[in-house]
Symmetry: C2
Subunit: 247 residues, 2 copies
């Protein structure tokens, strides 16, 4: 079942090579610099062969996203497994999300390109299903954390509020903050030196407002952040520091 012929392995490897090239093209010259011709040229295959792997340009973008979604899923899974209260695990999810966006800016922006504009209509069902599946898995992780919270009694949802409301709320906040940061706004000039930190502070208010214990007044959020970095994302934290110091 899992056995692949040499040829099949070769094809899979070539596909990966083409995706690497595509990412490099985008990294070098922005999304407009991605062209099928150029992938063919740099991979030293003909255009027809490129089209044998990807029925159209949009599918290249989807494939790039899908490949990096595995990374996101991994980060979220580790965050969810953080050894702490349900609320602390939810905070870890937020940190994981920010880490993903900052360490994979190209892939994060590609998601936006795919979802917005005219790309959606051209993608095939299989790719779309794969995408939805990953999303579902992530939503499931967060729902799990919320359920753990309600079961342990740390979280008593306000009347009229469902766990999914919470998922959507925190997801939207986190995503919105990260998307806004990809826009070339000079936040520092406006008076927002660290938008992600701002978001985190507001998020703590949100969790407080839902009465999700332990409240931030009983706990130092900054200390928690350090603990999550140290225990769950030591490598990623190092990468992040290297990135921000090099800029």
């Amino acid at each position: 079942m899992t056995k692949l012929t040499r040829k099949q392995r070769e094809i899979l490897q070539r596909r990966d090579l083409m995706l690497d090239i595509a990412e490099q093209l985008i990294a070098d010259g922005g999304h407009q610099a991605l062209s099928m011709d150029r992938i063919a040229e740099l991979s030293e295959y003909s255009k027809g062969t490129v089209y044998q792997h990807f029925p159209n340009k949009e599918e290249v973008l989807i494939a790039i996203c899908l490949r990096s979604m595995a990374v996101l899923g991994d980060l979220f899974e580790r965050a969810s497994a953080f050894n702490g209260t349900s609320r602390e695990r939810m905070t870890a999810i937020g940190i994981a999300h920010a880490l993903y966006a900052k360490l994979n800016p190209l892939q994060f922006s590609t998601i936006q390109v795919i979802k917005s504009g005219s790309v959606r209509e051209k993608i095939c069902n299989a790719s779309n299903d794969a995408h939805v599946e990953v999303e579902q898995r992530i939503i499931g992780l967060i729902v799990g954390i919320i359920q753990d919270g309600t079961q342990s009694g740390d979280l008593v949802l306000p009347p009229g509020m469902t766990p999914l409301d919470v998922v959507f709320g925190v997801w939207a906040s986190s995503y919105g903050a990260l998307v806004l940061q990809t826009y070339d706004i000079d936040f520092d000039e406006i008076g927002l030196p660290d938008p992600t930190a701002s978001m985190m502070r507001v998020m703590q208010c949100t969790l407080d407002g839902m009465g999700w214990k332990p409240l931030s007044s009983d706990n130092d959020p900054l200390l928690l952040k350090e603990r999550i970095y140290a225990e769950v994302f030591p490598d990623e934290h190092k990468q992040l520091l290297a990135l921000s110091s090099s800029r």
Copy 2:
């Protein structure tokens, strides 16, 4: 100063005609259906003339956004002037934002296309400045509401939190929620019949968590929503109802 020659008026009018056509093209066939050739064809001018108005395709998109930004600014100004507490006015801003996104889906999605991907690099400075200016005005409005809150004593910001943190937090939440809704996710199926309402509920938690009085426990958020619709956005509310019933 404000006097324009007949010719100048003609040119401005033609520009508007071209933008109308561009919007129609996008509305009919998605963003990929927008082409300079087609604008020329439908406006019955030559391509060269179209390029006299817009140096490139990206500037057409920018112009569409800028035109609709005036609408957003107007909605926000009216929301900010709502006759209520500072917190209620902040809620009105959230409603204004959602109204804008739902009544102008085409323009809202165009913003995303502009900000993401390869469009940004090609726009000229003047257009960018105009964009930033509108954004600044909006941020100013929200900062004003927060300052009113702190001055009246209704809002005592948690230690280490600035008004701009709050602006960014609520902006990101609201924006993220609206962007997620433009992705073709079947929220109903997931168990989220009304994502905007979910967002609003979570937002109330956020304001509660900041201790922004009057807390939602002292006040019915649903009633407030109705009041804002009735007092500030009666026409827009009607449009929204017409839209959702027609789908």
